[in-house]
Symmetry: none
Subunit: 357 residues, 2 copies
Amino acid sequence: MPVPARTAALAAIHPIQVVTRRTGLSADVIRVWEKRYGVVTPVRSAGGRRLYSDADIERLRLLAHATLSGGTIGRLAALSPEALAALIAPADASTGAVTGIDAARPAHEAVRRPSPVPGGTAMTAARDHLDTSLAAITRFDGVALDLLLRRAAIALSAEAFLDALVVPLTERIAAHVRDGTLRPAHRHLAHAVLRRVLDHVTTTATPPLPSRDVVVTTPSGQGQELGALLAAAAAAADGWRVTYMGPGLPAEDIVETVERIGARALVLSLGAAPGDRVIPRELRRLRALLPGDVAVLLEGAGAEVHRSVTAEIRAAAPRDLAEMREQLRALADGSDDVPTSDGTAAAAAPGRGRGRR
Amino acid sequence: MPVPARTAALAAIHPIQVVTRRTGLSADVIRVWEKRYGVVTPVRSAGGRRLYSDADIERLRLLAHATLSGGTIGRLAALSPEALAALIAPADASTGAVTGIDAARPAHEAVRRPSPVPGGTAMTAARDHLDTSLAAITRFDGVALDLLLRRAAIALSAEAFLDALVVPLTERIAAHVRDGTLRPAHRHLAHAVLRRVLDHVTTTATPPLPSRDVVVTTPSGQGQELGALLAAAAAAADGWRVTYMGPGLPAEDIVETVERIGARALVLSLGAAPGDRVIPRELRRLRALLPGDVAVLLEGAGAEVHRSVTAEIRAAAPRDLAEMREQLRALADGSDDVPTSDGTAAAAAPGRGRGRR
DNA sequence: GCCGTCTTGTCAAGATATTGTCTAGGACAA
DNA sequence: TTGTCCTAGACAATATCTTGACAAGACGGC
């Protein structure tokens, strides 16, 4: 195996506690795996303490994921990193993306993925994270929440993190604020942290190499950006190169962004704002200005509210993140059609070029 | 290891207490780190007292943050600033990104980074960053901009990064959009990236230890959050523990946040919105609800616009970041003796040792 | 189905290593 | 004089290490 020439990455300097955080394994397990199966061979400090390299950590994390999928460590321990990755990839491709981030190492290869279902274990794991996160919010501990979420993003797959943790978390927060268990200030704090973490997930999960481009934003008049960030993170974890533009973009600027980037898809996040007059107008203007072959996805509660306009501008309206993923994938698989919620094919006027420079 | 002749331009003039304030480390720790691990080598005054340069402080802050993630100071101390930064922001997927994209040129160029912190040339260094950043914006390259800014934040000191790069950059962008050289879409892109980077700077610069707390937000009706993030980053770099709450917070929620956290100061960022009726009302409500010993600072163009209210609610109105820093520092110095009129959560009483962890 | 064996994660105890804080005695600065 | 800073050493709190034991499942044979 070729040795990467990155000094920082080579440095084997992480004490076991860091490995604990980044792999989700207990220190005991890490040690016993080393002793019984020789999964890694960390160097030792002068005082005899184990010092792990990023590569060690990466391998441990791969193993941890692989065992979650059912294999026994005794057998997996002998496998090469490639074999491990191959084993995990079919079950959970997003791992590759998120993994690449922290370990700064593995390639961004397998972006394809068949079965989206993370599995029952991931759900229960996510529930734990959910409870601890809520506890942190309750005691108004933003730092702890930040840490917990980042850790969860690593421990869980990107998909599980978003679907089984972030989404339920925001819903629970909203519910608690409604029934008075939490104050609005709690929600603000949580949202501030969530924005930060989601932004982080998005940028780190975004594949560096040229790939399918998608622009994510919120139309003019929409201030709520959590949904947009969620969509951005989901798209990024799914192998799209995301350009996130923040909330409240006028139609002209959206169009210009899409054209300059040459994006194939545009995801707009719409909060529920019944009776809103601005949004429908912006959406119509958007479709008029937008190249015909750019697919438009309306994410969030607002898509339901403005359903007639949604149909009118030939936009897809995924019900949730899972549906959005499917539609994005359909888009990526070469078909220019995005299935709309009611089944009609949306978008795609392949004849008209988009006139890129 | 080349030993660069230290330019007198970057005066090493800070006594240890300033370092204490700006890093969140106790004087004991700073001294013992120097003695045991040689993390910095401050010059001495005629009387034998340590005098720290800004670069020293920056390094100490990086180290303090790096230890937070679990690394042991004994090993971290030997690391280069680049390696440290990579450790703190393991999310360096963007590095891989650009490396991969223009892989045409050898990676060495990126690794062999130049100029740590030249004193008098700090401004020229910042000018370079400014130009390259503007170029990235012009060609609509958000990924490159992100990378450039993060690098600059490491290469320059936090102060220089904010004052000599970010602030001028936003001004130049605004000017270019005005005169038509850049499109609004460019500005949106740049702001989206800037928000992300500033948020990152804020969190990484915020001292992990209990220290003086400040809450940064934007009052209800203010959507623009770049200024608030800028102020947050500046305060964090100055040793305050920042709780950033995002834009558009109603007075009640601001007050509740301040009280729950036990913050000593509140920074509100106000954009220029002449004729605004909501802001003055919110500000008055705020002062009425807020504990009397909480200092209020109004940052941004809006403070000028609402000058009468500013005076009425006994708020400071710094003209720029430098002035805000001064006022914050004065607050930090003076309040040692100021008794808390209200018995709420005595916060961090400085002076004696502060509890680690 | 039942029972022994193997696998695997967790825990305990006793010893070291590492690190932050504190004390004491003295010097310097305003 | 008073407050800040310096050095050196002592000390307490964590983190980690090693060895060994053990419980819960998984598995295979009867």
